[in-house]
Symmetry: C2
Subunit: 294 residues, 2 copies
């Protein structure tokens, strides 16, 4: 039958925003027969059941992955190695595994350690669909629609396994891109991890002052935008920073050198240097925003 | 008559977003009889006339301010000294002057230099109503509604002159606050000028890379928010940075020290230190946002 779902059974570890939206997306596309969920708490699993995200809660991970078509590991990155270790021995030969982690070098290293000769069945992924909310209640079928998902395929992946994982994300509506894991981590250190660090740093710097209330009371819309990401989850961002510390330190060094230059320009009153920097930034920001709007 | 306008004639130098909205706000409140505008170009003045922002374009600044009740200098800060010098000799004894500059120490210094024994007639102001758009076409009567306006009164100001300037901003719907000029500049260096500098720096740092397109192509919503202010006007921000360089350098030094600490925490893998910083920032950001929402 031409309209049969592409996937029979999928198993999702972590039924929050990322995992839940993946399941809902495949269900909305009618491309999955059964979704089995694992989670840290019974409450989350019950909620995911009630919301129709999963069809049942799994009890035995090894048993569930043995005959699954697709496994998504959508827990915080710190918990992935343990899940990989738990499922690796039982993975069926035709089961593909993907993940939803924001960093890739560390996830790939864990996969190399735990999947052994089944490494080719794991196709790492990073869905770029950050949201201020998290948890199963925030999951929605269209979270990935027209959002980017970056796959960082491994040399061990077969064309078929790569195609199956790509297909799953595409059924969720995502635009799938490919980068090397190291390339992924450099790019996201620059455009995501560093801005988070900088935003957290600014708010922290104000918050620890004795007269912080005076400062906050005059903060306006520019501050609001600049610091929106400083309301992000501390534990999650701690893990991302630690996992990607090599690339992030490189970016931070570059950025500090840039601030040193601006500091010097300010100190010597070099308006031309300041204006040139601001002008290049504004042009690039506008070009980027216009590209996004297209 | 109890409903007579509080101000007869006002003169506005710079009929863009700030000056135009001030005029429209007073007109909407029916608190002004006549608005006379000065601008850098005939085109702007014609537009301001067409939009009903001003009633006529002024020809002779000295003559116009002589019998004005209120003068607003709403040009870029760099042009204010020249305007002050031009109008000072002609200011009527009952004319009060205010401004719309984003920095105050430098504006006060210029006022001290140019207004001489009429300094008491000048009450410096900074309306906190940044907008991405500028120009007369962006002006609107409600721009200042429920926005903060910071007055930085001078020891030379009489209670009466302070009250008249305060009243004008209040008729525009603003919440008027008072700070010392130096205090104003320290606060805004921290909550506005530094974030702009940091945002410009991040985008510039990406824009000058050979493979900048790769980076920008994966930038998402966090980047969008963090860098929105990097689309601000380069010339205006050059002037603000130069005008407030003392306070801004102090803030930049503090911030660089903060980044050094985060750099060290990252290098030694100190997750607890990172999480503590992020957590303090998130709490403060949330408290601030909740306060704003009230």
């Amino acid at each position: 039958m031409s309209n049969a779902p592409e996937f029979g059974k999928i198993v999702v570890f972590g039924v929050g925003l990322i995992g839940g939206s993946f399941a809902l997306g495949l269900k909305a596309a009618e491309q999955v027969e059964e979704v089995v969920g694992f989670g840290r708490s019974l409450a989350t699993l019950t909620q995911a059941l009630d919301l129709g995200i999963i069809d049942r809660a799994g009890a035995n991970a090894g048993q569930e992955v043995a005959d699954a078509d697709l496994v998504l590991i959508a827990t915080p990155v710190g918990q992935m190695p343990e899940i990989m270790a738990r499922i690796a021995p039982y993975l069926g030969p035709d089961t593909v595994v993907t993940d939803g982690g924001s960093t890739k070098t560390d996830v790939v290293a864990a996969a190399r350690e735990h999947f052994g000769d089944k490494l080719g069945q794991f196709v790492p992924a990073h869905p770029i669909a950050g949201a201020e909310n998290s948890g199963a209640a925030a999951a929605r079928a269209d979270l990935y629609r027209e959002k980017k998902v970056v796959l960082t395929p491994l040399p061990e992946n077969s064309v078929l396994n790569l195609a199956r994982v790509r297909s799953a994300w595409e059924w969720c509506g995502a635009q799938v891109h490919q980068l090397l894991p190291s390339e992924h981590d450099r790019v996201f250190a620059a455009v995501s991890h560093l801005p988070h660090l900088l935003s957290f740093a600014l708010v922290h710097d104000l918050a620890v002052r004795e007269n912080s209330e005076l400062y906050f009371s005059f903060a306006a819309s520019g501050f609001r935008d600049f610091t929106r990401i400083a309301a992000s989850h501390p534990e999650m961002w701690r893990d991302i920073c630690l996992a990607n510390h090599v690339a992030l330190l490189e970016e931070l060094d570059r950025y500090r050198a840039q601030l040193d230059e601006l500091h010097d320009a300010l100190r010597r009153g070099d308006g031309a240097a300041l204006e040139k920097t601001f002008d290049i930034a504004r042009s690039a920001r506008r070009t980027w925003a216009e590209g996004k709007a297209r």
